[in-house]
Point group: C2
Chain length 337, copies 2
DNA sequence: CTGTTAGCGCATTCAC
DNA sequence: GTGAATGCGCTAACAG
């Protein structure tokens, strides 16, 4: 008797010669089942490789023990977050479901709300939103945000010290002797991008160096958007001697653009990034960058979510430190200004 | 009127002043709705940020346009696969759902069958199984496997040329002058691990160098399992002058073990890995390794799955090439044997 | 102790 | 264009 398609609780019941109710009780270890019966049922379950359907179960019990991580797409940053969350979820009894809105990243604002709509209320007990733009808190779902949009939010939030990191990056370039420093900004709707911009300006002002508006661009954090902008920034006549890119993806795009223009990094152009995704070590030359503890951010987000779900004390805001990682993409300018 | 909890189709209907049936038709672009009505409905949908519930929809139509990637946990290898699949999914009309069995990786054999049971038939239209052990094809779900278990399988499979890669790695160490070469094997249930072992032995035999059984261990591909074994391998009196680790995680664990034992890499010990996950560039010294095109494997897996779902021709097996990536963890032995 | 029965929730799809 | 029945696998309440 080949069971066709999925194995359902009915298959198990039939094979074990009991009712579905009894099987359900065995699965959920309820009282009222003879040990002998339970034994048989468990055997059949093992035998058939039965596992209850997430959908059907959530339909009734409104509890799935599954936590969602909602991202726009799986790129280096969200992948690191996932690794961190995955290591933190072990032992909590929860499982992890990562959902990507489909990668159509552009005209796709509001993906977080839509993804949440699709999954919540039924499939997942709670969610981690990664770089969400719209966060009008939907009641009925427990949610924490990682690196969210600009403006106040009532969600528990995990981020890193973007301002201090950006100041550090800029100071580093200044200390090397750079004065014509370009800034390749991030997604303007995100608080992190705003703070990195602000940190850049603060550090420049503190050093008494004027920011040349022509050297400040928006790269949008993504390779496709950052690359043409980087090329533009470097192609002009008054090109910068150093670029602070708001994330590593943009920094990598900048290095590639420099190569195309026959500019040598770091001899002709210094580049510093932000994030320290693993990819940053793979560039030629390896990228100097500001590290965020991304995996730790993912782990913290998961812990906060579990805490919120179990009714514990939830911090409104967790901020992790950033640090400079010196590799080889920065050097003193060829002819100091 | 604050909609509480999720926005349902009923909310949309009420707000638009039509019936739920009409809304459903508009969503699925069925005939029989006046253009004016449809316009109003679409406006309300946008306004409310409505998105159909995955659960409810799959309940009726058995089609969700969601593809699953099932992994044991989110670690570097599966994360790379995810990136590749994510980039390939854009434009296909599908969305991606990655599901992790919970990270309790050990006594957890059969996770792939359980995960598949939980999600299939309802939530996802098809699945990519990553390093599955048990692959007794469940009817009713379209599935492709990446780097599956040993033995014949009737699933479309994506992998890389593990044998050639392992031969290449071993030849590289031999060419440097190493003779006492250790092998830190992978998960014995996976075909990839078997082939890497075989490639090692083939290359050794071809060079006329005997394999010292005391230098061959099983590291299981995971950090927790590989680290103690690596320590053991290096602590003994007749320690190897070079180690070929079956994946980068094991290689990194080997480098760490060497550091603890005050062995310098590569002066006292050469280490070569397999996979070329981004993390391999972050070690000190950076790891020399055999690259698999992991992202490309993820992208191919996704393409094959979509092809299978749309009834196209599906290759039984896609094998991608491997290549040596020379970094800095290998050197000639201190005193050639 | 076990079986029967009635929903759970939401989108779809008849028949009108 | 609408109302109402229906789909799914599971669980809870109660009956036997």
């Amino acid at each position: 008797m080949t069971t066709q398609g999925r194995v359902t609780i009915a298959d198990v019941a039939a094979r074990a010669g009991v009712s579905v109710a009894t099987v359900s009780k065995v699965i959920n270890s309820r009282y009222g089942v003879a040990e002998a019966t339970a034994l048989v049922v468990r055997e059949v379950i093992d035998d058939l490789g039965y596992e209850s359907s997430l959908v059907a179960r959530s339909l009734r019990s409104h509890r799935t023990n599954v936590l969602g991580i909602l991202v726009a797409e799986f790129e280096p940053f969200s992948a690191e977050l996932l690794k961190g969350a995955s290591s933190a979820v072990a032992g909590t009894g929860y499982e992890l479901l990562a959902y990507s809105a489909g990668g159509r990243a552009d005209g796709n604002a509001g993906w977080e709300r839509r993804s949440l709509s699709r999954l919540s209320g039924t499939l997942i007990d709670g969610a981690i939103l990664v770089t969400p733009t719209v966060v009008d808190v939907q009641q009925g779902v427990t949610v924490v945000a990682v690196d969210p949009h600009t403006g106040p939010s009532h969600l528990p939030t995990i981020d890193s010290d973007n301002l201090a990191g950006a100041v550090r990056a800029t100071e580093y370039l200044l200390a090397l002797g750079h004065r014509r420093i370009g800034f390749l900004g991030g997604r303007t709707d995100l608080e992190s991008a705003r703070l990195r911009d602000e940190g850049f300006r603060q550090a420049m002002a503190a050093a008494g160096v004027a920011v040349d508006p022509g050297l400040v661009r928006v790269g949008g954090y993504r390779r496709e958007t950052a690359e043409p902008v980087a090329r533009e920034l470097l192609a002009g006549p008054g090109r910068p001697s150093a670029v602070f890119a708001a994330n590593d993806i943009s920094a990598i795009a900048t290095i590639d653009a420099a190569r195309e223009l026959n500019l040598s990094v770091p001899a002709d152009l210094s580049v510093i990034g932000f994030d320290n995704v693993p990819e940053s070590a793979l560039t030629t030359p390896p990228l100097t960058t500001i590290a965020q503890p991304i995996q730790e951010m993912g782990a913290q987000a998961l812990r906060v979510l579990v805490e919120a779900l179990t009714g514990g004390e939830v911090p409104a805001h967790v901020r992790l430190p950033t640090a400079l990682v010196e590799r080889a993409s920065c050097a003193p300018p060829a002819r100091p200004a």
